[in-house]
């Protein structure tokens, strides 16, 4: 059973890890890793270039999702969308950044589980709406946020969108991942209903909601502790 397996292509993985840890430009790191992996697998130079080229053309759908909404979002930002989103949320006295994000996590995860994965997303939802609203809620409670605190809050907005999407979409039967698992298991001679794969994802999906919500609940406490003068901000809010 011991066939000769070429371990040299793992050099590409090493380049990626070292490159990312040392914070070189990721584009450059990836390009070097791709070339080196090809060399290690003893591909000739023109095969390496052709593999890079055709791989790049095959995956052109990836930047579309980000690129296409930019014109609309940019135009609305020019006319004050983000400012308005911040003011809009501060009208709700009970809104905190943590509560807003918990509500968003719930909606994002359940709609994704129903197959509506395009209802969120970073360019069309997080940047123009969710992030300014979370920031607005935090500012109206705690006053101006220090740069580090603001960065952590905004990072949590993006993280919440990711987590809701990932763990929601995978319990939707018609999602590609379910089809992939089903096809692979069929190939291995195991016949499983796609519905049953989706069903057994539910315990994990429920757990992630509670775990991440707990962290968002604590985010409010973090915001209160790490803003300069919470007492003043509270007085202003009253």
């Amino acid at each position: 059973m011991q066939t000769a397996i070429n371990l040299w292509p793992l050099l590409g993985v090493l380049v990626i890890v070292v490159g990312f840890v040392l914070r070189f430009n990721p584009m450059l790191v990836v390009a070097i890793a791709a070339v080196l992996t090809g060399v290690a697998a003893s591909m000739p130079l023109d095969t390496i270039l052709a593999t890079i080229g055709s791989g790049f053309i095959k995956t052109r759908t990836l930047p579309l999702i980000i690129l296409l909404p930019l014109a609309v979002i940019g135009l609305l930002e020019r006319h004050g969308l983000r400012v308005h989103a911040q003011q809009f949320i501060s009208r709700f006295r009970n809104a905190t950044a943590g509560r807003l994000l918990i509500a968003y996590l719930f909606v994002r995860e359940t709609t994704a589980a129903l197959g509506l994965t395009s209802l969120g997303g970073h360019p069309q939802m997080v940047r123009p709406l969710l992030a300014p609203m979370a920031e607005g809620a935090a500012v109206s409670r705690h006053g101006k946020l220090p740069a580090g605190v603001r960065q952590r809050l905004l990072a949590f907005c993006a993280a919440t969108d990711n987590i809701g999407l990932f763990f929601g979409e995978d319990i939707f039967v018609a999602f590609g991942a379910i089809a992939l698992m089903h096809t692979f298991l069929m190939g291995a001679g195991i016949d499983v209903e796609p519905l049953s794969i989706a069903f057994w994802g539910i315990p994990t999906a429920v757990c992630v909601f509670f775990i991440h919500s707990f962290r968002l609940y604590r985010l409010d406490r973090y915001l209160a502790q790490h803003t300069p003068e919470p007492a003043i901000a509270e007085a202003v809010a009253k």
Binding site: V13, F24, L49, I52, G53, G55, V72, G80, L116, S118
Partner: protein, 316 residues
């Protein structure tokens, strides 16, 4: 099909070509020529990429990587609306500003769900393999018209805004595609086989709990390296899941597959390789720390890996 994904590539190509022209025409741009070349090459990949020889595209990709690596992709000058004008505009439009923003996801869902099965004659209206992307393209165009009408601004201004955001993203916009390309390269070079070989050859899988832990953590680690749970699944499930968990310990394959894939997703939350989810959002939110989103996700991902080990051990 009537509306194919090819039209979207052309649309993206035209948008990027306009960005290129605006960058080259910007006399105050600190990186005028290198940034212009970078966006120009990217535009060409969208406009005529499938008709060029793959070797030529490969060379273009390496040139783009070199331009990004030497810091050649900078941000140009941009004239914002004066603060008072913006405040007046926000006041006049109020919550109406939300309409075009919310229209993008809502129209996307509507088109993808309602118009997807629609046929005119024998032809599908939307490209069936890429219906969500096509739906997003249509939604973006409709919302753009809506936004122009609402703000009484011009499509030219919209292109300037698009260029501003594209330049703010910089090379981060291209990185997801580079990583997907690397994933294909890893595949061709047999990286997956090498990793599965290392994992199975040096760990004793005779204990049920050890096998569960190796499968769950293997899915996560492999996803961290490849940036994609889909790439990890066949390798880890073929290497450990089917022969050991199902074959030896009689696990329910549905439980194994579902929890295995979720363990891969925990890996996705941890890795800069999943640039579309982790690096691009940090760039979009203009965070100084490119790893800030990953840092916010680490505790949730690690907790979920423990949960997955427990769930798989108990439920299988």
């Amino acid at each position: 099909m009537i509306i194919s994904i090819q039209y979207l590539y052309w649309l993206a190509g035209v948008v990027l070509a306009i960005t290129t022209v605006m960058t080259l025409a910007d006399r105050n741009h600190p990186k005028r020529w290198t940034a212009g070349l970078f966006w120009g090459l990217f535009a060409i990949a969208f406009l005529v990429g499938e008709r060029l020889p793959p070797v030529a595209v490969g060379i273009g990709v390496l040139v783009m990587a070199a331009l990004a690596g030497m810091g050649g992709v900078g941000i140009g000058s941009h004239r914002e609306l004066a603060t008072e004008a913006r405040a007046a505009s926000a006041k006049r439009l109020g919550s109406k500003l939300f309409i075009p923003a919310l229209a993008i996801p809502l129209i996307t869902v509507f088109v993808a769900v309602v118009l997807k099965p629609l046929k005119i004659g024998d032809l599908f209206l939307l490209d069936p393999a890429n219906s969500t992307f096509v739906a997003l393209g249509i939604a973006s165009l409709v919302s753009l018209a809506l936004a122009c009408w609402l703000t009484r601004d011009t499509p030219v201004q919209a292109m300037r805004e698009s260029r501003r955001l594209t330049e703010a993203l910089g090379w981060a916009l291209v990185l997801p595609q580079m990583l997907a390309m690397l994933g294909l390269m890893f595949n061709d070079a047999g990286v997956g086989k090498a990793v599965a070989h290392l994992a199975t050859a040096y760990i004793n899988l005779d204990y049920r709990l050890v096998a569960v832990i190796v499968y769950v953590l293997g899915m996560a680690l492999f996803t961290v390296v490849m940036g994609n749970g889909f790439a990890a699944f066949p390798v880890m499930t073929g290497g450990i899941g089917v022969p050991v968990l199902v074959g030896v310990f009689h696990a329910n394959p549905a439980v194994m597959a579902a929890i295995g894939m979720f363990s891969g997703y925990c890996g996705t939350l941890l890795t800069p390789m999943a640039a579309n989810y982790n690096i691009v959002p940090a760039a979009l939110l203009e965070l100084p720390d490119k790893y800030a989103v990953i840092k916010a996700q680490v505790p949730t991902a690690l907790a979920m890996l423990v949960v997955n080990i427990v769930l798989l051990y108990v439920l299988m």
